[in-house]
């Protein structure tokens, strides 16, 4: 069965919004499309009449410095995100996450925008962007607006975007200074679906041996991208030692809601391995930041 009837290739954000709001029948924006096309093909997504290809919108395929921020277009393939020197400098966690998404061919089409629009709360890119405190630029018929990245998530698969008239244009990340660094790691299992059992991103700022500031994101730790804020408070202002890290871990376990996912991992297993994963991720980020 035809996966779509009409295919639009708008050349600007305005054209894209116009195409979205005026198309006849059901309509979906498509960036990489690796998830959407398969969902359509395998019947997990209701049939769509019109697809609006966002990869022809130049604004959405840019990756550049804008003032004191890094801008990543929502339709930039994750492979470019992983390879660009700018992300290498300012978003190491995102580079590491993007390098682990699927394989190279899929990474050449898959986008962060698609990931976020699908509202997968524990996707690798999502967890990295959460720790990096990204903001999203959303376009609608009334103009564009900036929102905190995590506010786009309402629940698993539930996006706060109004799919009939809004699209994500791109993401803004704060630039990383000399004393700041980030890291992303995950644990997989070799069977079944290619979703991580657990992933973790840490962004931190150090002042000598003191943790000046830290963001910890863990997936799947909640129905929306999970920031371990209590663990962050526990560790903030502390000097790094095993005692502080143990208390941080306790806070994290107290706040996170690990669940059992059939054939992937039990909640107990996740609780058991999060400590090791967090300390590995933390230590790498810590060693990357200059005293």
């Amino acid at each position: 069965m035809n996966l779509w009837q009409a295919y639009k290739r708008p050349a600007s954000v305005t054209e894209a919004i116009q195409a979205l709001t005026t198309a006849s029948g059901t309509v979906m924006p498509i960036a990489g499309g690796t998830d959407l096309l398969l969902d359509l093909k395998q019947g997990r997504h209701a049939p769509v009449h019109t697809l609006i290809d966002l990869t022809f919108v130049p604004e959405m395929s840019l990756l550049e410095l804008r003032g004191d921020e890094l801008y990543i277009g929502a339709a930039v393939p994750v492979n470019r995100v992983a390879l660009d020197p700018l992300t290498g400098t300012h978003a190491q966690a995102l580079v590491e996450a993007c390098n682990l998404i699927a394989g190279p061919q899929v990474r050449n089409t898959a986008t962060l925008g698609g990931n976020v629009a699908h509202a997968l709360p524990a996707a690798d890119g999502t967890i990295a962007l959460t720790a990096l405190e990204a903001q999203a630029e959303v376009a609608s018929p009334t103009g564009t607006r900036r929102v905190p990245f995590t506010s786009l998530f309402l629940g698993p698969g539930k996006s706060a975007l109004n799919k009939n008239e809004e699209i994500i244009v791109g993401f803004y990340l704060p630039l990383t200074t000399y004393h700041q660094a980030s890291c992303f790691k995950r644990i997989m299992r070799p069977q079944g679906v290619a979703l991580p059992i657990l992933n973790c991103a840490v962004w931190l700022e150090r002042d000598g041996d003191i943790v000046k500031d830290i963001h910890i994101a863990v997936g799947p730790g909640s129905s929306i991208p999970f920031r371990a804020t209590e663990a962050e408070s526990t560790l903030c202002g502390q000097s790094v030692n095993s005692d502080a890290l143990n208390r941080t871990m306790e806070s994290l376990l107290g706040q996170a809601h690990f669940r059992t996912s059939a054939r992937r991992a039990s909640a107990d297993y996740r609780r058991h391995i999060i400590g090791g994963l967090f300390s590995d991720t933390f230590e790498t980020a810590w060693s990357r930041a200059f005293k």
């Binding site: 069965m1 499309g33 061919q105 644990i187 069977q191 290619a194």
Partner: protein, 932 residues
């Protein structure tokens, strides 16, 4: 915004109208007829469809064609350059051929395109770069080490401008002759690297229709109503057939005719993949729509989900003869006496899951009706002559009216032995009198074709203090699913091999091969022995620990040797290379680590623990059990002095065509290039029998050899008569026949033969040494191959994650006919074994398939590939061609227990259920730590 699209493919500019819903792969394959780009899964998992878009590798199966507007595309057809009249291969293409990376060839375009993109970006990649780039480009023949070597060799050739390096690590056979025993390239390798190789789905016939089967999608019930009227009314639908429309036999099957071609009203549905109706339509899209419009109603029945339940009293019997397909018994010696004598008796139960072959090429058949009333079926099949019989029976025709035209196969591994679409396309082509193609998508392939049997195996072992085994008692349950397929044969092999490759005085094994409402189970590389070897080799390590005997020594003292009597009462008279395999793997392993079974903690990360594991196996070559094991081959000399050898044995990537060519080359003393090979065409090639049981090198190898020998004798006799010399004075060397000082080319010989009224063509029907049925004692098999492997693993004791670092594999193959092809079989065997152990589980819940997409069924990729060392052991067997016996299966069998034994040696967790569950390892270690 939505007008024509313009793009460049391999340097040619195209401007075309877009088609709704079209992907780039469809555009390339169907509209531009560039069929080198392959479709393996259509879900962005396998990488076979990789093309370059603006220099970057992309999966063309999920790339909307309209996105190609303004882009530059390169496909596999765009790599070789035409220089004058000759095609000059790209160094990558050359290297893939030279290094033996090409096996079935189906994934190769994707591998080469992905590698091509890598080399453009990085002209000097190391192993890690290559693995990173090829992470999701799957090869089920699993020639990953050769693929990696090819890319390194090509990169070097590109950098230096020198010729592509040939492999240096593959020794000749110790029993080598002039041609056989040396490494040779595949005759079909060039077309496989250029994208010119044609597989069934690459064929298109004038007026061809597209078919789709409506599957039951319920695991058990009776069909009460079937309404095809809406499907018939859909414009573009040409025919809709149901069970009532089958003119001949309603059931098919390889041994037992128990599998309905379509289930009729009032009849029983036994699994989700049962066909209810078949549609032929003008397009694939219409056929799919029509199939979805067919309405069916069922009287649902309770689902039999596993073989143990199937044998319980009071459960519904899903076949007329009951749920028991076969109770298989092995009896040797006196069990009571054996166990009474033993110093130690212990038992353990093991479980293995259903697994899928996941060949990258899904099933495809095309039926073509001929004006003379005959029917051709184009299909990649492991048993062309069986297809012919079964298609003819369903049509109610004489067999002579059916011709199977075998095509290149993108992998088989036992999964292309049963009827899939062959009968359906023949029925539809017959009714419509138009060619009809039925291509499975990956979903249908996973749902429908027979799998590896899930098993439950309980082993009770008795041994003396010194380690000698005295009694082994095994109880096996095998889940043969809805239909018999080769279930009885598979579970017989599991049962007869259940006590391992050991000399044991008292053996008993009882196997219950049971019907259930799961997808059918049949042949799969290893043929039941994969499962029982996991159980018994785990038991051997458990025994070694209990008796405090070194693991390798325990195997050595019990190993089968010349003079041993097997569990089925067969005296082994020759060609038992097990001990040499054990010794050589042991020596190689100890080069890496003199204390291989003692855990080593990683110096940088104390959570990582490493150790080695060891396992042995054996596997019959040939059908055995009293079945006549025959193969026919024709060898013919042509006017131009070339030869052709023909047999309907199947080439599924394993390299049989090369073996046949080399054998005829050897016997006729001509260069291999002078010998062409034709296989799998039931009009043009004699019956080579099924391509199963590691038998073809032996039987069709022998048929080819004896046909060539006979032709040589005929030439000798003819020349001796003509020149009035004694036959001994006639010599064959270097493509020339020397007759008493006279030298003649084969072209001249052809003329002489013809002039003498003789046709230079010989057909030889080879029959392997006779075997005895199970239970009668004597020779149940005419040959056994032996395999021993050691695996080094690294276990993360915190997370339970397992990595296989190294595998050493020694295989007694009798004689290596083509060492280059053998290397590919051995590496692929290890990888398939590794997948069986660590990644693969075909999950069925209450009869419904959970793993119904490739994304849910993981086959190992290049990232999981360990360092593989192959040791070829050659204890020749008298009756084999130059001493050769089979290797296709035995090289895959010991991998699983070698890995699980290594896990135990590393962290002390005994794995008794595959695939290995890292969570279970972590939990067990965690609980142990909490107790302490």
């Amino acid at each position: 915004m939505n007008n024509q699209i313009s793009f460049t493919v391999n340097g040619t500019k195209h401007t075309i109208d877009p088609v709704a819903g079209e992907t780039l792969s469809t555009l390339l394959r169907e509209r531009l007829r560039l069929t080198g780009t392959k479709i393996g899964c259509e879900e962005a998992e396998c990488g076979a469809c990789t093309v370059l878009v603006d220099g970057e590798p992309m999966m063309s199966c999920v790339y909307p064609a309209e996105r190609s507007d303004g882009k530059t595309i390169v496909t596999i057809e765009g790599l070789a350059q035409r220089v004058h009249e000759e095609m000059k291969l790209h160094p990558l293409q050359e290297a893939f051929i030279e290094q033996g990376a090409v096996q079935c060839g189906f994934c190769i375009p994707g591998q080469i395109m992905t590698a091509y993109a890598l080399l453009k970006r990085n002209p000097n990649p190391d192993s890690a770069d290559i693995r990173f780039a090829l992470k999701d480009t799957l090869c089920r023949c699993a020639g990953y080490p050769s693929i990696e070597n090819s890319i390194i060799a090509a990169a070097e050739a590109l950098r230096t401008g020198e010729a592509v390096q040939k492999p240096t690590h593959i020794p000749d056979s110790i029993h080598n002759h002039k041609t056989v025993g040396h490494s040779h390239l595949r005759p079909e390798a060039v077309e496989k690297v250029t994208g010119e190789a044609i597989y069934t789905d690459d064929l298109k016939f004038d007026g061809m229709l597209y078919a789709k089967a409506r599957r039951a999608m319920i695991p058990h019930g009776f069909l009460t109503k079937l309404d095809v009227s809406k499907a018939k009314a859909l414009p573009g639908v040409v025919a809709v057939l149901t069970a009532e429309d089958i003119p001949g036999e309603h059931n098919h099957g390889l041994v037992i005719y128990d599998w309905p071609v379509m289930v009729g009203i009032g009849e029983r549905i036994r699994y989700v993949g049962d066909a209810l109706a078949i549609v032929a339509a003008e397009t694939q899209d219409i056929a799919e729509q029509a199939s979805a419009l067919i309405e069916a109603e069922f009287n649902l029945q309770p689902v039999i989900t596993n073989p143990v339940q199937a044998r319980e009293e009071g459960v519904q019997q899903i076949h007329e003869k009951g749920n028991l397909l076969k109770h298989i018994k092995v009896r040797k010696g006196d069990m009571d006496a054996g166990f009474a004598k033993a110093d130690l008796v212990f038992e353990h139960t093991f479980h293995t899951p259903t697994t899928d072959h996941a060949f990258i090429e899904p099933e495809c058949s095309i039926g073509v009706p001929l004006p003379d009333g005959r029917m051709e079926v184009y299909v990649g099949s492991q048993i062309p002559y069986q297809d012919k019989t079964q298609v003819a029976r369903a049509l109610g025709w004489d067999e002579s009216r059916v011709r199977i035209v075998g095509q290149l196969m993108g992998g088989g591994f036992g999964g292309k032995e049963d009827i899939m679409g062959q009968i359906h396309v023949a029925l539809l082509a017959n009714v419509t009198q138009r060619p009809v193609k039925l291509l499975f998508d990956r979903h249908e392939s996973l749902l429908v074709h027979p799998k590896r049997h899930a098993t439950q195996i309980r082993v009770k072992m008795g041994a003396m203090k010194n380690g000698r085994l005295v009694a082994v008692d095994t109880e096996l349950y095998g889940d043969t699913g809805a239909y018999a397929s080769l279930g009885e044969k598979v579970m017989t092999r599991a049962t007869t091999h259940a006590a391992g490759p050991y000399d044991v005085e008292n053996v008993r094994a009882d196997c219950y091969a049971m019907y259930t409402n799961n997808p059918p189970a049949g042949a799969f590389r290893g043929f039941g022995v994969t499962q029982s070897a996991f159980a018994v080799e785990s038991m051997m390590d458990m025994l070694a620990e209990k008796l405090n005997i070194e693991r390798v020594e325990l195997r050595r003292m019990n190993a089968l040797h010349v003079g041993s009597i097997t569990n089925t009462g067969q005296e082994l008279k020759e060609s038992v290379g097990l001990l040499e395999c054990i010794n050589r793997v042991d020596a190689e392993m100890r080069k890496h680590n003199p204390y291989p079974f003692t855990p080593i903690v990683d110096s940088a990360n104390s959570n990582l623990i490493r150790a080695w594991g060891f396992a042995s196996a054996y596997k019959n070559t040939g059908l055995g059990g009293g079945a006549p094991d025959k193969s026919g081959a024709d060898v013919e000399l042509y006017e131009d002095g070339t030869f052709q050898v023909r047999s309907s044995a199947a080439e599924l990537g394993q390299g049989l065509v090369t073996v046949m060519r080399l054998i005829v080359s050897e016997e006729m003393a001509v260069a291999p290039e002078k010998v062409r090979v034709l296989v799998m065409d039931t009009d043009l090639t004699p019956n080579g029998g099924p391509t199963t049981a590691s038998r073809q090198t032996f039987v069709t190898g022998n048929a080819s050899r004896y046909a060539a020998k006979t032709l040589r004798d005929e030439i000798t006799a003819s020349m001796a008569e003509k020149y009035d010399v004694r036959p001994e004075q006639i010599r064959f060397a270097d493509g020339i026949v020397h007759v008493n000082g006279h030298s003649m080319t084969y072209a001249e010989i052809y003329k002489e033969m013809k002039a003498a009224g003789k046709n230079p063509l010989v057909r030889y029907m080879y029959e392997a040494p006779k075997t005895k049925p199970l239970g009668e004692g004597g020779d149940m098999h005419f040959a056994f191959s032996f395999g021993v492997q050691a695996a080094e693993v690294e276990v993360n004791k915190l997370t339970g994650e397992v990595r296989v670092l190294k595998v050493i594999s020694a295989n007694d193959v009798g004689m290596a006919v083509n060492p280059l092809g053998l290397q590919g079989q051995i590496e692929g065997g290890v990888m398939m074994g590794l997948g069986n152990c660590l990644t693969e589980e075909f999950i069925v819940e209450n009869g419904n398939v959970v793993t119904d997409h490739l994304a849910r069924y993981r086959v190992p990729g290049i990232m999981l590939t360990p360092e593989i060392t192959s040791i070829v052991v050659e204890h020749p067997i008298e009756a084999g061609p130059y001493g050769a016996k089979g290797v296709g299966e035995v090289c895959s069998i010991p991998t699983t227990p070698a890995i699980t034994n290594a896990i135990y040696n590393a962290v002390g967790v005994r794995i008794d259920k595959t695939p290995v569950d890292q969570e279970l390892i972590a939990n067990e270690l965690w609980e142990r730590e909490n107790k302490n």
